[in-house]
Symmetry: C2
């Protein structure tokens, strides 16, 4: 199995933890010199915090690990394309690479809805996309399918 796929599998495992806690299943990890230095999943509902996306938590963890506000030489693997908040944070962190699984046409900020790299800020992130795309999309689709079904049943009672 390719290195990128192995890393995304770790991110997918994080997304599964989110799903078990009834959070939108998104997972992320940060890799530095071949080592995973941060792992996290979306915790918006649990923490009642709109900023608690998987990527944001992973950035803070990685910065703590490195003792640096800049994540030079780091790669973030995330199951879905980051939103504007997370893309903005990844640029501020000067991360080297972001690899994502599924694209997000509604809010994705690395090419789908908008492209933060085109703003010519003081850092440009290298992007890889489509890593284990099918698995990354499926976990989200199943989550929302189940949720819609549950919400529909709720209306009967």
């Amino acid at each position: 199995m390719k290195k990128d796929d192995l890393c995304m599998q770790q991110a997918l495992r994080q997304a599964e933890y989110a799903e078990r806690e009834d959070e939108v299943p998104v997972g992320a990890i940060v890799v530095y010199k071949g080592r995973t230095i941060a792992k996290s999943y979306n915790q918006v509902e649990k923490l009642n915090d709109p900023t608690a996306h998987a990527e944001m938590i992973a950035i803070t963890q990685a910065a703590n690990y490195l003792g640096s506000k800049w994540l030079k030489g780091c790669s973030l693997y995330v199951t879905v394309e980051p939103c504007s908040m997370c893309a903005g944070a990844l640029v501020l962190a000067r991360i080297e690479q972001v690899a994502f699984g599924a694209a997000d046409p509604k809010t994705g900020a690395f090419g789908s809805k908008t492209d933060i790299n085109k703003l010519k800020l003081n850092h440009k992130v290298r992007i890889k996309q489509g890593i284990l795309e099918r698995d990354c999309a499926a976990i989200l689709q199943n989550f929302f399918k189940k949720k819609r079904k549950r919400d529909k049943n709720k209306n009967y009672f």
Copy 2:
């Protein structure tokens, strides 16, 4: 003094706390039903965390206070125009209004460098700008002026 000016004065006081700690002096507060429910300042250097902008900390504080991931009916006052990360977070938080002092042509994401409201995400933030603009710009300009002078002197030794 107008209500907006009084609120921005509170945000400016927060920016002064940042300055004393040698952080880029940006301050923010969140107001809900006439009450200040969050106050914060930029802490990127102290926390070694690129996500620790004043606005992000204020959003998390306000969400904690309200026990809700959404900041409906809230206004954020911030001394400088939010960047992409913070603007993205404010949209995710579905905040009602953002009032800022100085515009930021380099990274401002509510009209200067880019405009997140134009992306037609699932929430649009009402914007007021130019509140105590001169004071909000001055504290930043003085900070960077002093910093450049200090860095220049450093080179002599």
